[in-house]
């Protein structure tokens, strides 16, 4: 077979690579436009503030918004302190010995576990054995465990990127370890840590498999931690799969995508603003 000359190969490669890249980009753009085109018209103040009626065929999605927010807040409130604390310990208080390795191994394994297994686990432990039932409590706890590894990883990276010289300066001024961590390291790492938390929020919003088996899928407005509730993604899934209402499904999907877009924008904003402020 005659070998292509390097120039031809280069051209062919470039064309091929760019084509594939554009396909990738194109897919995303297509998805967003497709959903938005059909979903945006459905969005209105009413849609957002009214509760679903008639199994979701009519009405809005307010109770699902509340459910989503409740679950996410509970999950973050649990996962963020645990995650950031773990990251602080791993970077500031250990040398990399066996203890570190065990903890890190635990976090990385946790990161790889599929959401359905979390759902299974949450169902057996929280819903059944602990008798919380299908509830925001069960869902929030399960989600918290799912988000934990991500928060650990991003916080660790943020803390590691604080220059070592900052710590030297703090110590040489006569600070204790804890003072150094709280007065110098954490404030400097804060944008990175917050970004990680915000991204986790995005992930928990889109999570379906874990929530459907722990928080259930009740349509009415949740009244307490023990109420069952439906998140927006679960609502979307049910609407779409059961064919209950296509327009409402598109509307819900549009809200989901807007939320994700908003979250990504927020992280860029945070990082850029803080980088500008301090360098």
């Amino acid at each position: 077979m005659r070998r292509l000359g390097p120039r031809v190969e280069e051209k062919a490669a470039r064309v091929g690579l760019w084509a594939l890249t554009l396909i990738t980009v194109g897919v995303l753009v297509f998805i967003i436009f497709f959903i938005m085109r059909r979903g945006l018209p459905v969005l209105s103040l009413e849609f957002l503030t009214a509760n679903p009626a008639d199994m979701g065929k009519t009405g809005g999605i307010f109770s699902t918004i509340v459910g989503t927010v409740a679950l996410t807040v509970l999950a973050i409130v649990i996962a963020a302190p645990l995650g950031v604390g773990t990251a602080i310990y791993l970077t500031e208080y250990t040398w990399g010995g066996p203890v570190t390795r065990v903890i890190r191994f635990g976090a990385e394994c946790l990161a790889g576990i599929p959401s359905i297994i979390f759902g299974l686990f949450g169902f057996i432990l929280f819903v059944t054995k602990l008798k919380f039932g299908w509830s925001i409590l069960s869902g929030g706890l399960t989600l918290a465990f799912m988000l934990l590894p991500t928060i650990i990883r991003t916080s660790e990276e943020a803390i590691k990127s604080v220059p070592a010289s900052y710590r030297s300066v703090s110590f040489s001024l006569g600070s204790t370890k804890w003072q150094t961590v709280t007065r110098v390291v954490l404030p400097t790492a804060l944008p990175g840590i917050v970004t990680g938390v915000v991204l986790s929020i995005g992930r928990s919003i889109g999570e379906t498999a874990a929530t459907i088996f722990t928080a259930g899928s009740a349509l009415r407005m949740p009244t307490s931690l023990f109420s069952s509730s439906r998140t927006m993604s679960v609502h979307f899934y049910i609407l779409a799969r059961e064919g209950i209402s296509m327009p409402n499904a598109y509307g819900t999907a549009a809200i989901l995508i807007i939320a994700i877009l908003g979250i990504n924008l927020l992280t860029y904003f945070i990082m850029n603003r803080f980088i500008k402020k301090y360098s």
Partner: protein, 252 residues
Amino acid sequence: MSGIAIEVRGFSQYFGEVRKIRALDLDIPRNEILGIIGPARSGKSTFLCALNRLNDLVRGSRHEGAITIDGLDIYGPDVDVVELRRRLGMVFATPVPLPRSIYENVAFGARRAGLRGRDKLDAIVRDCLEKGGLWEEVQDRLQTSGLKLSGGQQQRLCLARILAVKPEYILLDEPTSGLDPISTMKIEDTLRRLKAEYTIILVTNNTKQAARVADRTAFFLNGELIEVGPTAKIFTAPDDQRTDDYLRGRFG
């Protein structure tokens, strides 16, 4: 009040199996500037970090011998290391302003010393910036970020910062190595002024700087103290041939 402030006896510093400082004996008098010169990797910076026990933060570090500061064995069992580090302020080779405003950089040090209250902080920030020779240049922009200053200004900021914790000693590790001549001169002037109130130990790669600023000079080579004495003597008639060779540039 004069006399010997720091006594070093038979001090060695190890990091794991590597010995960075060997059997050091040195007396450092009060209210003087001691210059430490020597080629790279001769243990000069390690010695500074041994004085404020910053070396303890490195894994696998250990020492032999003793260092006594104002009569206190700094490696003794009852020593409060945090307090010790406050008493020996350190300025590093690369200026490291914290990512905050100029005011907050100096105030950081002040707060470490336990100071609270806006008026007190204002006063001490001004006082330290004046002592550090930076007040005039920054007095009307105290809220701007410390990172926006020039290299020389940043270094003087670092100096002001440690003054805020009320140290008794100032340790400087090649403080002007990356700076332009004017900034260097300003810092050297500041050190001369500070000598009256503090005991200063200056590690420098620039022998001429030691000649300009130091009252006494010590020459380190491969982790050992080769010679120490009044600067004039070291530079004109050193006792050890190696000192002479280094100063003449025969190696380095």
